[in-house]
């Protein structure tokens, strides 16, 4: 939906030339310019201010909560970059096998045939691009420069086009070693994440229910709308935010 909206949003920020944003939008398949996407983020953030003001009034909270709008803007702005990182991560997992299979194919096939047939799960788009570029008459040795893909994939492609079997085998081993190191790094993070998760998902709602029930004793009082909002919108939103972070931070299984 964000993609469809972005493709019809007029570009308000004409001078935007953000290379990283442009790369990320293209990598995740968003057919819009960085300036159009920036305009969409701005429009969504601004249009969220009025409902936020009504919501804070209904919840009897200070109006300062309507300042959540900039948070929405920043999240939307970074969304394509986060999604691109996630995509590259899933590609990295499959790259060692892709390199190894390409090496096996090189033993009985020409580099061009291998390049045309190399595909593993996440690389189906790159395979289509490769076939298109070769069909348009691009020389094999320029393929890695012309294709839009992560650097590691380009390196693999360079080794395949030059028929470097031993280079592919070495790359495969190096990438596997990298995966092992990533797993070790994540193991340390996972313990802390587990603790945070229990506190967000269980302790926060549990103590909130206690405060609501014993509110008179502590001098608090809540309306039924506030309680319903907290349990039905706020806490699930916090869970969603944490699970989204976990999805970005954890290695692809």
């Amino acid at each position: 939906m964000l993609n469809q909206l972005a493709s019809v949003t007029p570009a308000l920020f004409k001078s935007t030339d953000n290379h990283l944003l442009a790369q990320s939008l293209s990598a995740i398949g968003y057919a819009c310019s960085p300036s159009a996407y920036l305009s969409l983020c701005f429009a969504v953030a601004v249009s969220s201010i009025i409902p936020l003001i009504f919501l804070t009034a209904a919840l009897q909270l200070p109006v300062v909560f309507s300042l959540i709008a900039p948070v929405i803007f920043v999240f939307l702005l970074y969304f394509p970059i986060i999604e691109k990182d996630k995509l590259e991560k899933s590609m990295d997992v499959e790259l060692p096998l892709l390199a190894y299979l390409a090496r096996c194919d090189l033993l009985h096939s020409t580099p061009e045939k291998v390049v045309r047939s190399m595909h593993v799960g996440s690389f189906s788009r790159q395979r289509g691009d490769i076939n298109q570029l070769l069909h348009n008459g691009l020389p094999l040795n320029l393929l890695d420069k012309a294709i839009r893909a992560p650097v590691k994939f380009k390196h693999t492609l360079r080794l395949v086009t030059s028929g470097d079997e031993s280079g592919l085998k070495k790359l495969c081993r190096d990438l596997l070693e990298e995966q092992r190191n990533d797993a070790k790094r994540y193991a340390a993070k996972a313990n802390i994440a587990g603790m945070f998760f229990i506190s967000i998902a269980a302790v926060l709602p549990a103590f909130f229910s206690a405060i609501v029930l014993l509110g008179n004793l502590m001098g608090f009082s809540f309306t039924s709308f506030q309680v319903a909002f907290a349990f039905i919108v706020l806490f699930p939103f916090l869970d969603f935010a944490f699970l989204y972070y976990l999805g970005v931070a954890s290695p692809v299984a």
Binding site: V93, E94, P96, L97, Y100, L101, C104, D105, L107, H108, S109, V120, G121, C172, R173, L176, E177, Q179, R180, D182, A183, K184, Y186, A187, A190, G194, F197, I198, A201, A202, V203, P205, A206, F207, S209, A210, V212, L213, L214, G215, N216, L217, S221, F222, S224, V227, A228, F231, I232, F235, P236, D239, F240, L243, L246, G247, S250, P251, V252, A253
Partner: protein
Amino acid sequence: MHFLLLPLILLSIPALLLAYREFVREKRNSEIEKTLPDVLLSISSLPHTVSFSEVLSKATSLNKPASILFNNCQALILRGAPVEIAISKSFSRYTPLVEKTGALLYSLHRNGNSLLPIFKELSIELTLHREAREAVKADASVQKYSLLISCAFLVPFIIALIYSVSQGASAIFALSPVLSPNLIALCINIYLVAFSFLAAKFLAKQFSSHFSTFFSITCPLSLLVFNFSSLLIAQ
């Protein structure tokens, strides 16, 4: 909310059966991946003169968990399926590593048995890949089961414990609550459904599995644990 207990207990039985099925499926996939290098090593020792069907027969005769892949493939070919489709159908339902072995097996069929020695190297390479993936998978499995246990048991139990204790304390201090405890219990039940939904979505995406499997495990169990625990603690 205690009228929910009986239907929740009834719903939890298929949920537990689904959880068991998921566990068995994962264990079988892991065994196939583990024994695949041994099968490939045996194939690689065959002479170059053997036919493709003899390669499949050799792999089938080893009676290892991974042999089932070759057995299925052989059965499909005997029933008249083209080799490419037979390999794709037999090898694609499992893990990516198994799928890629299928791709290489098809290369063997296309290019002749001169490729047989590659399988020895592939066997070593698969072991290395499996070791690297095991390191990642070990963390992912811990994350998966801790999330499932948190969602189905821990989170509803902690909430039920604190909610029931607070409800008891409210009665002891003779506080007149502004909001009915039933309304809060209803909100918590809705929260648990939303939480189960989010956790199931996350697990399904992260482990390329079915959302409905995880949701049907976590949702009834979390509601059952919350309602049953709060009833038990209140008494």
